[in-house]
Symmetry: C2
Subunit: 129 residues, 2 copies
DNA sequence: CTATCTGTATTGTTGTATTAATACACATGG
DNA sequence: CCATGTGTATTAATACAACAATACAGATAG
């Protein structure tokens, strides 16, 4: 399947298993993953990103405990039917709040004018994916 | 002194000592800390944030190895004279790039319109410090 | 039935982050 | 001199993250 669904930074400070769970939360909230959609297998993700299968399994297990995923024994993981995809824009914006506040703090430490930061972000956002 | 110079999140995924080093980099690049300025003592920062003095010491040592700080034996740490404060705006904006790109990635995962993100960031940036 | 795919449980090892409790070398004010 | 303030080295303990290597249980296609 599509093991490139996830972006993983093994060198980053954020634990890999948590990176995956957080991306799952956003992809489901945003509607790119809908109820019933199958996820790439543990071994597939691990092989693609050259990480340990158990690390992926841990992420999936946490996502299941959180109600994001459902485990179909012998088959694999799918997005849970109770997982409401396509949440309201306001609710999705709230999920971005921590990153926004971190950005504001760093901008102030760097004494960067708001306009400069906003213009750079505009450019990055408008570049095609 | 001003042990509140730093913002520390002991519960965060980012190691405390690295949080401190990164803030030092930005505060110096932005000019809020200039060459020769004295830093709050290890025990002061540790007491204020209720963390271990050795963790702060580790941050200061790394900052010294990086050329940001100078150690005055028996006195304390000061911003290094070779530490060029007030770097160019472009150079400071470059230090913000990783956080900006992380924000863009998360916005796309959440399927949030660029305008919504920009407007929220504008509000946060224009709120008084 | 068999091979192959799922996720997972288990055990052990490695590296790192943090805390704790001392102890030391150096500088400074009284 | 002495008390007090610097930063730091040391040792031990704890916790966590990731890896490695197996092995198992269930589903499914042939």
């Amino acid at each position: 399947m599509d093991a490139s669904l996830f972006t993983v930074q093994p060198a980053g400070p954020e634990p890999i298993y948590r990176q995956i769970v957080e991306q799952l939360r956003r992809l489901i909230a945003g509607g790119q993953l809908g109820a019933g959609d199958a996820l790439p297998s543990v071994r597939e993700v691990a092989g693609f990103h050259v990480i340990n299968p158990m690390t992926v399994s841990r992420a999936y297990s946490l996502a299941e405990a959180e109600g994001l995923l459902e485990r179909l024994r012998g088959k694999g993981m799918v997005v849970a039917s109770t997982s409401r995809s396509s949440q309201s824009e306001a609710s999705r914006l709230a999920m971005l709040e921590p990153s926004l506040q971190a950005l504001v703090r760093q901008s102030r430490e760097l004494e960067l004018p708001a306009e400069r930061v906003l213009r750079r972000l505009t450019t990055l956002l408008e570049d095609e994916p």
